[in-house]
């Protein structure tokens, strides 16, 4: 493996600030970024990534390539939670298995954004439609998760309020903001892009680094919860992302994606949600334990993906795209 790639990723400001946050918790510093500052940064990142994706999509247009990529994204968004569920059922009750499956079927926007700045450092581009793919991949896993729970749970399985589930899935704040900003980007195109560039592009990397500092703080605080999860879940949180990334890379190769698109697609499939899905699961599958799915996604899979995953997936792509 190209140790250079790993090292240059490790030494990039966003990753280093993530570790600084982890370190703060490890040495019990009282460093803290009080709410709603992290919420603001997170909304900013969704706003900016959505808008920029939209303006790029405006340039590239809706080609067949875009359609195929979006179809592949949707397919993975339905498949991943399905096979994850059956793997998880080996050890876990239905509720937890369904909630974790939904978590891993969905995506993490911050992982996607960190991958975007990783590619930028390598001078590799990716299509704006990948942002659309991200938005589309956030919701289906929620529906699949609740369906699986509903089919497999016995006993106190009460009637699911599907209206609420669907609204949570497709209209939760983060999906809505990405999709909305994307649409606005598509509508305003290059003119809009240049008007908002200082806000949505120039300060973006700094905002990301600052936000990852907070992610490091939160992730490290959640690590302790993982003891309850045991080795099985810790392994799951590392292995499944790799499996999903491999599947994504295979598909990307089949449908002829570019290297940059392939990496972003791999990252989407490999990443797990810690915003939209946990909130939805809390309401729709209340018997699932959030102290399992939140720390798995936040404290293991997220750092794994941005630290090891990015260079690893890129390496594999380099091998196959040569």
């Amino acid at each position: 493996m190209d140790t250079n790639l790993i090292l240059s990723n490790l030494l990039s400001p966003p990753i280093l600030f993530f570790f600084l946050g982890v370190l703060a918790v490890a040495v019990r510093s009282d460093l803290e970024i009080p709410q709603p500052i992290p919420k603001f940064l997170s909304l900013y990142l969704l706003f900016a990534i959505g808008f920029r994706g939209g303006t790029e999509l405006h340039e590239s247009g809706l080609t067949s390539e875009v359609g195929i990529a979006l179809a592949a994204a949707m397919a993975m968004a339905f498949l991943v939670p399905l096979y994850s569920f059956f793997i998880l059922r080996v050890k876990l009750p239905v509720a937890d298995a369904a909630a974790i499956a939904a978590t891993y079927g969905s995506i993490s926007a911050v992982t996607f954004i960190t991958a975007a700045s990783f590619l930028q450092r390598l001078d590799v581009g990716f299509g704006g439609h990948l942002v659309a793919a991200m938005a589309l991949m956030e919701s289906p896993a929620i529906v699949v998760g609740v369906l699986l729970y509903n089919i497999h749970a016995r006993g106190e399985r009460r009637g699911i309020a599907w209206g609420e589930v669907l609204r949570e899935a497709f209209l939760n704040g983060s999906v809505f903001l990405i999709l909305g900003s994307l649409m606005i980007g598509v509508l305003t195109g290059a003119e809009g892009a240049s008007a908002l560039a200082p806000f949505a592009e120039d300060i973006f990397k700094g905002m990301l680094a600052f936000f990852l500092l907070d992610m490091g703080l939160i992730a490290a605080r959640r690590l302790g919860d993982l003891r309850r999860g045991g080795l099985f879940l810790t392994l799951f949180a590392i292995v499944i992302p790799m499996v999903n990334a491999m599947a994504a890379i295979a598909i990307a190769n089949l449908i002829g994606m570019s290297r940059g698109d392939a990496l972003m697609f791999a990252v989407l499939c490999a990443s797990a949600s810690y915003i939209a899905v946990p909130a939805a699961m809390r309401l729709s599958i209340p018997d699932a334990n959030p102290s399992l799915y939140v720390p798995m996604s936040l404290a293991i899979t997220f750092p794994f993906n941005i630290v090891v995953g990015l260079p690893l997936y890129m390496q594999i792509i380099e091998l196959f795209w040569r």
Binding site: Q35, P38, K39, S42, L217, I218, R221, D225, Y274, I275, A276, P278, A279, R282, L283, P286, P290, S291, V294
Partner: protein, 97 residues
């Protein structure tokens, strides 16, 4: 001054909408809400540091008549059973204005 019951509910923030809906349905005369509340209970610590409202609480207080208490308790109990929290009832005097 009018004797009244003071009902306090601490509940998962994600359930806040449901709790307020319940109170509205029961026709209480009003309620007061504090949204940013943290805490600890049998379901572990809720530190309110997540990006979502997971692991966060909200606090609702309503001053109501004696007979409302039973109905509120009954309607709130399923919520508390599902996602945890506490519901306390105490006596107070309402300064009528």
């Amino acid at each position: 001054m009018k004797p009244i019951k003071r009902v306090e509910i601490v509940t998962d923030s994600l359930e806040l909408k449901r709790v307020l809906h319940i109170l509205d349905e029961l026709g209480v005369s009003g309620y007061t809400v504090i949204r940013e509340v943290t805490g600890k209970g049998e379901r572990g610590t809720r530190a309110g540091d997540e990006l979502t409202d997971v692991f966060k609480n909200s606090y609702v207080m309503t001053a109501c008549g004696e007979d409302d208490v039973g109905r509120i308790a009954e309607a709130i109990r399923p919520v508390l059973q599902r996602t945890g929290g506490v519901c306390l009832v105490s006596d107070a005097q309402w300064i009528v204005h």
